[in-house]
């Protein structure tokens, strides 16, 4: 179908849509439209916006059958307000789904309700990101179920007071879980370090709350696992880092190489050491403080992944990028094309590369010119065209052509292009792939009236998104949406 036909079709479809259900100009009108549609997804989207009396009617649409209640309790898009309305459902299967739903606030009331002694529900509740720290503390004080206590310790909602209760009651039984919790205090970590095996000591060393004294102990620890974590620490002395830089374990040396606190310029031999493992050199190649000679050496490395990382490094000077743009390995040349400092001249050279993946890297480059993108748009390779479609420098006429491409990946590039105009995007409201229509609902270039065209879309998620967009709009502004 050519552009001219699409341009005729759009207003016809909009008129048809308006005839079916006119665009709502108020929250009340939106809720009325949802009620009239008898569509559970529309009802779900507007539920929070509605008055209590209207919510009853909406609930009648949303939760008429067990199947629908189960669906809503599981559906990733179900808003918290609707999940809340399901909280008192007497169906255990619904409760189990609610307890696993990330947006469900029902977990805060499970303990008070009829399910208070249901073991499976309790296990789910204590894992939930919305669990109450107070309830977790109460349970930590009395529970003996191992799985429940493990889950309490792992839950980031559990603060140090909760963890302390478990530590006091159960000694070392849950050290592993406590040390993984970001809220573990430095005292707890110190206790665990002193009694733990090498794995636990290593986990303590990697924790953000480790005390200076514990760190000092770790510096004397011989265990390789501990050394590997130690080498990552930003507060180590240069003396300690220097020692670790000479460690026999490759992972330790690689961790030092990656550590931004390590003064690489004081350790020129670290780069020039030809016995150094490739893992170490790969880590070095990502640093921003290398000298030109260090980079030059790494540009000639036998391991192409070292060269790839140098090619991708924004600190790599142009002269070295030019050299790497002629590398035999596709991955290296592609890394040059993706380097944010890659010049237009170099991009023009890489745009003629034999490998489509390299040319695609050019197409995605924010530095690529409109002329270069127009040249690349003559290609047939989907990866290249996807890059052109998503590039903000691509001329609008070209985007309009790509918006009609047979490949969904190319069309999606246009939708995700922040500079795609409303006129370019409008015909895409007819795109056969539901995800594209869903993305368009959230696109700021389209007017409210454009989005309303999708209110009776065959896909549940699209319809929900349209009603949700309008519900959020009326919640924030209360104003009449702008029309075309």
């Amino acid at each position: 179908m050519n552009v001219w036909n699409m341009r005729m079709l759009r207003p016809m479809l909009a008129q048809l849509s308006e005839a079916v259900s006119p665009m709502p100009d108020s929250a009340a009108a939106l809720i009325e439209a949802a009620l009239l549609s008898q569509d559970m997804y529309a009802a779900t989207a507007v539920y929070k916006l509605a008055l209590v009396s209207e919510q009853k009617n909406l609930a009648g649409i949303m939760m008429a059958t067990r199947r629908q209640r189960l669906t809503l309790a599981r559906w990733e898009y179900t808003p918290t307000a609707v999940l809340q309305a399901l909280c008192n459902d007497s169906d255990l299967a619904v409760q189990l789904r609610l307890a696993q739903h990330h947006a469900s606030g029902c977990v805060t009331v499970i303990k008070q309700g009829q399910w208070a002694d249901h073991q499976q529900l309790m296990r789910l509740m204590v894992r939930h990101p919305q669990a109450s720290p107070q309830v977790l503390a109460e349970m930590a004080a009395v529970e003996d179920d191992v799985e429940i206590l493990k889950a309490i310790c792992r839950n980031p909602v559990s603060d140090s007071a909760v963890l302390h209760i478990v530590l006091e009651r159960k000694s070392d039984q849950f050290d592993c879980e406590i040390v993984a919790n970001p809220n573990a205090s430095s005292d707890m970590l110190s206790t665990i370090y002193l009694r733990g095996n090498a794995y636990l000591r290593a986990a303590v060393v990697s924790h953000a709350s480790i005390a200076a004294q514990t760190l000092a102990l770790a510096e004397k620890d011989d265990a390789v696992l501990v050394k590997r974590q130690l080498a990552r620490n930003l507060y180590l002395s240069q003396m300690t880092l220097s020692k670790l830089a000479g460690h026999e374990d490759v992972a330790v040396r690689a961790a030092v190489a990656e550590n931004p606190s390590f003064h690489i310029l004081d350790h020129l031999d670290f780069v020039s050491d030809s016995d150094s493992a490739s893992a170490v050199r790969r880590a070095l190649a990502t640093r921003s403080d290398l000298t030109f000679l260090m980079m030059l050496q790494l540009c000639h490395d036998a391991d192409h992944w070292v060269r790839q990382r140098i090619a991708r490094n924004p600190a790599t000077p142009e002269s070295l990028l030019v050299m790497l743009a002629r590398d035999d390995e596709d991955e290296v040349r592609r890394a040059v094309s993706r380097n944010p400092e890659c010049t237009l001249v170099l991009l023009e050279h890489l745009a003629e590369d034999r490998c489509a993946w390299v040319r695609a890297g050019v197409a995605f480059q924010p530095n690529a010119s409109a002329e270069l993108l127009t040249t690349l748009a003559a290609e047939h390779e989907v990866d290249v065209l996807s890059g052109v479609a998503s590039n903000a420098n691509t001329p609008q006429a070209l985007l309009a052509r790509l918006s009609r491409h047979a490949e969904a990946d190319v069309r999606r590039g246009v939708i995700l292009n922040r500079d795609a105009s409303r006129n370019t995007l409008l015909p895409m409201l007819e795109d056969p792939y539901y995800l594209h229509r869903l993305l368009l609902v959230g696109n700021d270039q389209l007017y409210a009236a454009d989005k309303w065209v999708l209110h009776d879309d065959p896909d549940d998620r699209v319809r929900f998104s349209v009603y949700k967009w309008f519900a959020d709009f009326f919640t924030k502004t209360g104003a009449i949406p702008e029309k075309s």
Binding site: T65, R66, R67, L70, R74, A93, L96, R97, C176, V179, A180, Y199, L200, A202, A203, L225, A408, E430, D431, P432, Y433, R437, D457, P458
Partner: protein
Amino acid sequence: MKILVAVKQVAALDDDFEIRADEKDVDEDFLIYDLNEWDDFSLEEAMKIKEASEVEVEVVVVSVGPERVDESLRKCLAKGADRAIRVWDDAIEGSDAIAIGKVLAAVVTKEKPDMVFAGVQSSDQAYSSTGVSTAAYLNWPHAAVVADLQYSAGSGKAVIRRELEGGILQEVEISCPAVLTIQLGINKPRYASLRGIKQAAAKPIEAWGLADVGLTAEDVGADRSMSRVRRMYIPAKGRASMIEGTVAEQAAKLIQIIKEYKGE
């Protein structure tokens, strides 16, 4: 020229579900229904033949099932199928793939297509028998697991490639009309256009009973099936266990398990 495509609406399970009180199936409230993935490919293959043909080709989709199956048939209409037929009678309940094959064969006898396509299997029951049993009842040539098809509408022969184990392809010439069970990946199924979906909503779906295809209740159902479901159940949990410990500990244990598995 006519191609008949047998499709099925399959049931997918969520993470949690309940078994029905009669222990013969999953409680329907926990099932999510959709068109069988293999049938997407077989319908697309029929559409490709239709669009490439200089003679007119009618693509007819047929499914055996209750009213909820209409949703999947409309999907097929939205993708370009010309007609849709749904066959159902409560007596069909409990039929196995062989009994369903008998029903489909009766539809074929009535519709007289030049080719019949079906999916290799369904994603829920996975018997891989329906298409082949249909061919058996018709006494037609058949080929299973078709990964490539060279066929012109109205031709008396087709050349197919069958996908075998180890990545081997077997090239076969088959006389037509024939029943072919189509494998995943033979083509790239199209999305239904919005216009197609809206038009399909208004198209009629022919609802046939057993009498419409010359069968009776005595020909179908559990009693006329070669197999019957005794029970469906969730087996007791096996020997799987969680790998515990810190991340480094878990990694070390995982490496140990892999080495043991490899016999190192």
